[in-house]
């Protein structure tokens, strides 16, 4: 019973607002530290690749951003689904706060993929199953943001966005398994839960540190964004008018 009560307590925007600030601060710190370590490792510690020379270093941002692009979508769909079923305002706000970060991660994955594909494969863009489905993911993010932007009523925006997100979830397994199902140009996964990794240890460590850095970055940015959204949505409530940054 106590656990339930706690959960309900934190699902109220008023209690989550200061908590989000704390989480945001800690995540920013973690993100900066990990980024510094990760970048140092990606450029100075990780050795040259036997085949791709220095060019492979793009992997240290390409793979983390591609993972994040899919993961953020799943998290958004999760929060949106919770918001739809339990009618919690906060979870819909979380989904809304994550969307721009997810779109940016997808864009980074596509951009760095192009800059990696040109020297290695020999083409900026190929109509490969992996690339096409990732592009569709980018469009889905843009569609979600546009839908939320064009509905004035916050409640309707939340719920309409949730339906769209849940429909679009079909795309995520397609992206992930595309390299297995349609074996074309994009290489398979280097790291998998079942088969371990096909990278040398130090490269893998650098990539994982960068992944955690991207993770912390996404948490930090979305926490700060959700705070702004909470203020916007709850501007008529008493607790907002009593906040020190509002009263000044």
């Amino acid at each position: 019973m106590g656990g339930r009560l706690n959960l309900y307590k934190f699902s109220s925007p008023a209690t989550f607002y200061p908590l989000a600030g704390k989480i945001g601060k800690i995540s920013t710190l973690i993100a900066v530290v990990l980024l510094v370590i990760g970048l140092y490792m990606s450029f100075f510690v990780a050795p040259t690749d036997y085949k791709q020379g220095e060019g492979y270093r793009i992997i240290f941002i390409h793979v983390p951003s591609a993972w994040m692009s899919m993961f953020i979508y799943l998290v958004m769909a999760f929060w949106a689904g919770i918001g739809l079923v339990f009618n919690t305002r906060l979870s819909s706000m979380m989904a809304q706060a994550l969307a721009p970060t997810g779109a940016i991660m997808t864009f980074i994955a596509l951009w760095t993929g192009a800059f990696w594909g040109k020297p290695m494969w020999g083409a900026w863009w190929v109509w490969d199953a992996r690339l096409t489905s990732e592009l569709i993911l980018f469009f889905l993010y843009i569609g979600f943001i546009a839908l939320q932007g064009s509905i004035d009523d916050a409640r309707r925006a939340d719920r309409a966005g949730a339906v769209l997100l849940l429909v679009g979830v079909v795309n995520i397994p397609i992206i992930y398994f595309s390299v297995k199902w349609w074996n074309t140009l994009h290489q398979g996964a280097s790291v998998s839960v079942t088969e371990g990794s096909n990278m040398s240890t130090i490269m893998l460590q650098a990539m994982l540190i960068m992944t955690f850095a991207f993770w912390a970055y996404s948490i930090a940015v979305s926490m700060y964004r959700v705070r702004a959204i909470i203020l916007e949505r709850e501007k008529d409530t008493r607790w907002v008018s009593e906040l020190p940054e509002i009263r000044r």
């Binding site: 220095e54 060019g55 793009i58 940016i104 760095t112 800059f115 990696w116 700060y224 702004a228 009263r247």
Partner: protein
Amino acid sequence: MKGGLSEFFAMGGYALYVWGSFGMTALLMIAEPLLVRQRRKAVIQRVSRLVRLKSEQKL
């Protein structure tokens, strides 16, 4: 050391691609927090004006 540095920036001939990727990523990951901060400032300004307006009406 100078040779080492320019060699580092040359990235074994992949300078355009490596720095193009990392540069764009850095650009976006600096721009996004700045935009969020701007949004927060704008929201706080708007809401505090609203709150002040309301309290004046009450008086």
